[in-house]
Amino acid sequence: MQARLSVIALSVAAVFALSACGQKEEPKPVAAAPDAKPETVVKLGHVAPMTGPQAHLGKDNENGAVLAVEELNAKGMEIGGAKVRFELINEDDGADPKQGAIVAQKLVDAKVNGVIGHLNSGTTIPASKLYFDAGIPQVSGSATNPKYTQQGFKTAFRVMANDVQQGLALGEFAAKQGVKTVAIVDDRTAYGQGLADEFKKAAEAAGIKVVATEYTNDKATDFKAILTKIKSTKAELIFFGGMDAQGGPLAKQAKQLGVKALFLGGDGVCTPEFMKLGGEAAEGNYCSLPGSPLEKLANGPAFKEKFNKRFNAEIQLYAPYVYDAVWVVAEAMKRADSVDPAKYLAEIGKTRYDGVTAQIAFDEFGDLKGGAISMYKYTGGKLEYVETLGGGAVATAGSEVKEAVAEVKDAAKAVAGAATAVGKEAVSDVKDAAKAAAEAGKDAVKAGAEAVKNAADATKAAVDKK
């Protein structure tokens, strides 16, 4: 009897736990309108780790997708003469490549119309083959490893700059900080390793010496051993390729060990969570994010407000990208007037979508065209925007750039005038005057370049607003 009772208790507990796992905030399907129009259900698969150390980022991604789907359904799109209702099928890959392939197969079997995700490069790359074989378009909002789009799969897209661009920007940024030696740590995931390798290339090209290469994993909490080794190399900078759950404690433990090096990381550590976990150790260090900061983008602040209101949570990292990814797929379906993957796939490549995160357009590989990289500084528990490197900002420059150019010309003229004046006054010392003129000219060019950059930023914001 006793045994029976507790078996029942156990199974009740198990059912409870299981139902908790399955309990996701899926959008309540809007009741079908009473009119006689047929309704098409579009199934979108969404994959991210919902369990494990990156579950908080997975939930963030899911929220981005949920928000987009809710808006799409509220808007009521019509495709091929039928009203469409989007339905999100959320899967958990636990950031594990094996699990990623399993859930990808599950989505293929469920005949989804498209896939949003996965979150991690490590799960996205093996899954992309399954989607390609089944002809299902896949748009990731966060997989930044270059390999994802280099496999020749025409179903693979991403709405964010890749790690070649990011690693390059980070390497150049490090060189600009005057760093001479660097220690690189990565978490041996496709993302962390890929980013660290690209950074290494860029850093070495910029003349920085890599004095130590250490490894950890994406579940580790203790980094003192590798940090002690790094300390002995007296590296001036620690570069970390990995996620916030490891990066935060790593920065903190470095400080505890008395390591004086600066800390630099990519998008995986550019999160509020990193600062929460790193505490004081995060202060004054830098990280990068693909794209431009949300508050500088036309639709950014509105999205942030919407997101906070709907989920009562802060955006962690990729939610706006995932949100855009869903819209990219929906818009492609609309243009193709079909929800059939074979028919609307070609339209994704032709995307010109004014998203929250960027002007989205894809190159022939499915990578985001002109992906910009922004640098941030951890200041007072917040991410402070520093600058945007690369990207298509200049390409979209309009009249403001012309104005800026005019400004530069004017400035140059003024400088030249001043220089000749100086020259006239100091005829006896022509050499000095020439030097001064050259100096002044240099400054003017610098100021001009600044002006162009500012104008470009302004233009981009203006274009985004339109």
């Binding site: 507790s6 369990t51 590798i226 300390k231 759950a245 008395g258 969570e273």
Partner: protein, 307 residues
């Protein structure tokens, strides 16, 4: 040399944490031959309860150190109740079942507890309030902090107290008797159910203390933090000879130091062929070698006198 010393300090602290958790495994195993895989989760719940209780008290204006102590007390009480409930609900009904059944149940309970914790505390990482002022010491080039010293002292003191309990008290005698032969012990008037429940309750209280130490050391917590920790601690217990208290302590510290030295020197020793992510290889090679020559672990006895 200072680097070597620093690695030893790193390993000693990490090892003391393993040892504290390993004591919980070894106690339960010693008495009933069950590997309680849910023990790592008990540790995790100890950390999370401390965060909630201490966090609330600090917000209410209580001094930090006092709130920390209150949080720890709450964690110990919650974990004791949890340990008792685990034994009562999941393991007692299976006491006469084949050995594999309670093992699978233990893994099941571990998953249930993880998911419960995820529901209660959410998926995000939680920061552990810092109870201690950030005191730094330096000795011969090795840095260490107050919390590191406390961790080593607490695990040594806990092991001492446990040894006293097992070898100097009536309950301890009952435990040793149960370990040797439950049937005979019960004929001699030992209440087996009470002894086993006591082992779970005490083991879980130790788990809670370990949880507080882990939280205070890394200052982060997460609903899955117990899994890896539990696995490592279990390895430490096996290394030292599972069922033996001193063995668990020694196994934990050995494992910690081997890991730290492995991570620190494996790259140089193999000329860069193996990197620091192979640190676990070091630990497991040592484990395999020890088990080849002493299958029951460093301190393990062949039979009988466990606990």
């Amino acid at each position: 040399m200072d680097i070597f010393l620093q690695q030893i300090v790193n390993g000693l602290v990490q090892g003391s944490i393993y040892a504290l958790v390993a004591l919980g495994y070894t106690m339960v195993y010693g008495i009933m031959g069950l590997i309680n895989f849910a023990h790592g989760e008990v540790v995790m719940i100890g950390t999370l309860v401390t965060i909630t209780v201490a966090g609330t008290l600090i917000k209410a204006g209580m001094p930090v150190a006092l709130a920390g102590l209150a949080g720890m007390m709450a964690a110990v009480l919650v974990c004791m109740a949890l340990g008792w409930a685990l034994e009562r609900v999941a393991y007692r009904p299976l006491r006469h079942a084949p050995r594999l059944t309670p093992l699978i149940t233990a893994i099941g309970m571990s998953i249930v507890l993880q998911n419960l914790a995820m529901m209660v505390w959410g998926r995000n990482y939680l920061t552990f309030p810092s109870f201690l002022p950030n005191m730094d010491f330096e000795l011969a080039g090795a840095h260490f902090t107050a919390i590191q010293v406390i961790i080593v002292l607490v695990s040594a003191a806990t092991m001492g107290a446990l040894l006293l309990l097992v070898y100097r008290t009536k309950l301890g005698m009952a435990m040793r008797a149960t370990a040797q032969n439950p049937a005979v012990a019960s004929l001699m008037g030992v209440n087996i159910n009470r002894v086993i429940a006591a082992a779970f309750v005490i083991g879980s209280a130790l788990g809670a203390v370990a949880g507080v130490m882990v939280g205070a050391y890394y200052e982060i917590a997460h609903y899955q933090m117990g899994f890896m920790l539990g696995l490592k601690a279990f390895t430490a217990a096996v290394l030292g000879g599972i069922g033996n208290l001193a063995g668990a302590m020694l196994g934990g510290i050995l494992l910690g130091i081997i890991e730290a030295l492995g991570a620190g020197y494996i790259g140089d020793l193999t000329g860069g062929f193996l990197g620091s992510h192979y640190q676990d290889i070091f630990a497991f090679v040592v484990l395999i070698v020890v088990l080849m020559f002493k299958p029951s672990g460093l301190f393990g006895e062949k039979s009988g006198d466990r606990a």
